[in-house]
């Protein structure tokens, strides 16, 4: 919601707000004719994005990502588990996406939001299939012990483009992740090492290390309306114009995922190509922002 206009006539202000509530589609179309959106963005531009790493001190890796007002907090906790029989030297990643009632007026307590399991599944599929994390890196003792990484993403403010923000937070949390040092105790169980030199047990991994990330996926959601393409919608835009396309590209501009779940607008392939082009630009921006955040952390 914008800040009140200090010098505006109160009666025109009320009329504009009422018009926005009563005829939302016409309100937006008046803006689209001028190739602009109500928050003064051009059609192809995404909102201001920020990433803060290490937001949760007690987690092994965490990040807070904000796209405009949409805020996502991602945290990774590592636990040791026995790997399955079919993949004895691979770890496991469990991804969970929560939309607590604080994030949006339409989420009711006791009933999970409609969008939450959809975004959770999309995230899970994208991260696991993108090859960002090599599961073999999460193995400790082949066949006996491996890491289980629990990635929990909480939406703290839902203002559109939930999948984009969640993916960004997840990727940032993985780039901040440090695998803790563990050692094998006498019972053959893995225990967390308190520090160096305190025990004479042989540490299984020598030091806290970062996970090697392969190609990192970045995404952009676009809304299709008549013949306009709007990048990075807010929740108001999403609720009015329901056709959206999510494109996920990795850092080498290869297509990781494409998602268009129906919607009233049927898209020509040219529209999809345009979405992919917009995403390519966005990937460059996001890479820069992520690299700045990581190098900012390393200075400490």
């Amino acid at each position: 919601m914008g800040l009140p206009n200090a010098s505006g006539d109160l009666s025109t202000e009320v009329e504009v707000d009422a018009f926005r509530r009563l005829f939302p589609l016409r309100f937006f179309e008046k803006h689209l004719l001028e190739s602009i959106r109500p928050d003064a963005r051009p059609l192809g531009r995404a909102r201001d994005t920020t990433i803060a790493l290490g937001a949760v001190a007690s987690a092994n890796g965490s990040a807070l990502a904000k796209i405009g007002s949409t805020t996502m907090l991602a945290a990774i906790k590592m636990e040791v588990m026995t790997p399955s029989m079919e993949t004895p030297d691979e770890g496991c990643i469990a991804i969970d996406f929560h939309m607590p009632p604080i994030c949006s007026p339409i989420v009711r307590p006791g009933r999970p939001a409609e969008a939450a399991p959809v975004v959770a599944k999309q995230l899970s599929d994208t991260i696991l299939s993108s090859g960002m994390i090599n599961l073999k890196e999460l193995s400790l003792v082949s066949g006996k012990a491996a890491w289980m990484a629990y990635l929990d993403i909480y939406c703290l403010d839902a203002d559109g483009a939930l999948f984009d923000a969640a993916l960004l937070a997840a990727v940032a949390a993985f780039s901040h992740l440090e695998i803790p040092v563990v050692s094998l105790n006498d019972d053959g169980k893995i225990v967390l090492s308190e520090g160096q030199g305190l025990s004479d047990r042989e540490p299984v991994n020598k030091e806290k290390r970062k996970v090697n990330l392969g190609s990192i996926p970045f995404s952009l959601t676009c809304i299709l309306h008549k013949n306009h393409i709007l990048a990075d919608p807010t929740s108001e835009e999403e609720s009015i114009m329901e056709t959206f396309v999510t494109v996920v590209l990795d850092s080498s501009s290869q297509l990781v995922s494409l998602y268009k779940p129906g919607g009233p607008v049927l898209a020509y392939t040219s529209a999809i190509q345009d979405c992919i082009a917009l995403t390519r630009q966005r990937v460059k921006e996001l890479r820069k922002i992520l690299e700045e955040a990581i190098s900012g952390m390393e200075v400490d």
């Binding site: 001190a57 907090l73 703290l156």
Partner: protein, 244 residues
């Protein structure tokens, strides 16, 4: 089994505080843009986010009350908020109990008769838990209600105190809380000087209890001063933005 010293002979606690010293407070208003009112409240390492939606239309018609507003509250902890990852962050008994406590505490101070047939939702999410989550939630809820402009009798502030190694301690953190000593949580309306919430567990002689409760009330008043400062600063910012 050696007895852990929670208060060293020099009078310092495990985290270096004095017995009557509170943890560092930090509050921020208006963090959730979609909510009518919201706030983040930190007491040391405990970090809580509260969002208020309301007054709005009652979602469940059967619960509609004709002469005053319906207040609902939900408390939930993030999976990563405690040391070990929690399996069931809400719906378990502790969360339900704390939801009830926060609801009844806030209901006492909201002027519900001014908003009949409507609903006020208070949602509290714990992002980091290090003892005193109940108090942090109540303080965050007060700020969020003030941000939402909901009429209240007075702000509600809450603080906890305990008694370990024969010393009353203010604002326990998680280690001190799980030491097994008594834990007194007090919620007051500072201007009216009335107690709205009082919870205690473990055994304590009555005279020592009065000391500990007095200490907790002092803590509440200190938090109230801080909250008033934060609200005043926020109002100045709003005035400034309006160009007044």
């Amino acid at each position: 089994m050696s007895k852990t010293e929670y208060v060293s002979p020099e009078g310092l606690r495990l985290d270096g505080r004095r017995p009557m010293e509170m943890r560092q407070l930090r509050a921020e208003i208006g963090t959730v843009s979609r909510a009518n009112g919201s706030a983040v409240f930190e007491m040391g390492n405990t970090k809580v986010i509260a969002a208020v939606y309301g007054p709005r239309e009652v979602q469940n018609r059967s619960q509609l009350i004709n002469d005053h507003a319906l207040v609902r509250c939900e408390y939930s902890m993030a999976n990563f908020s405690t040391g070990d990852r929690m399996r069931k962050p809400k719906g378990d008994r502790r969360s339900t109990e704390i939801s009830l406590v926060i609801r009844q505490t806030m209901e006492a101070c909201i002027l519900t008769h001014l908003m009949p047939r409507s609903q006020i939702d208070i949602f509290v999410q714990v992002l980091q838990a290090d003892g005193g989550t109940r108090s942090a939630c109540i303080n965050a809820a007060t700020l969020a209600l003030a941000d939402a402009g909901i009429p209240m009798r007075d702000i509600v502030t809450s603080c906890s105190a305990g008694y370990l190694n024969s010393t009353p301690l203010l604002d326990l953190n998680y280690i001190e809380d799980s030491a097994g000593g008594p834990d007194v949580t007090v919620g007051i309306l500072p201007k009216l000087d009335k107690v709205t919430l009082l919870q205690m567990d473990a055994k304590l002689p009555v005279d020592i209890f009065e000391n500990v409760m007095g200490l907790a009330i002092e803590g509440c008043k200190a938090i109230a001063n801080y909250i008033r400062e934060v609200l005043l600063e926020n109002t100045k910012q709003l005035e400034y933005r309006r160009g007044l």
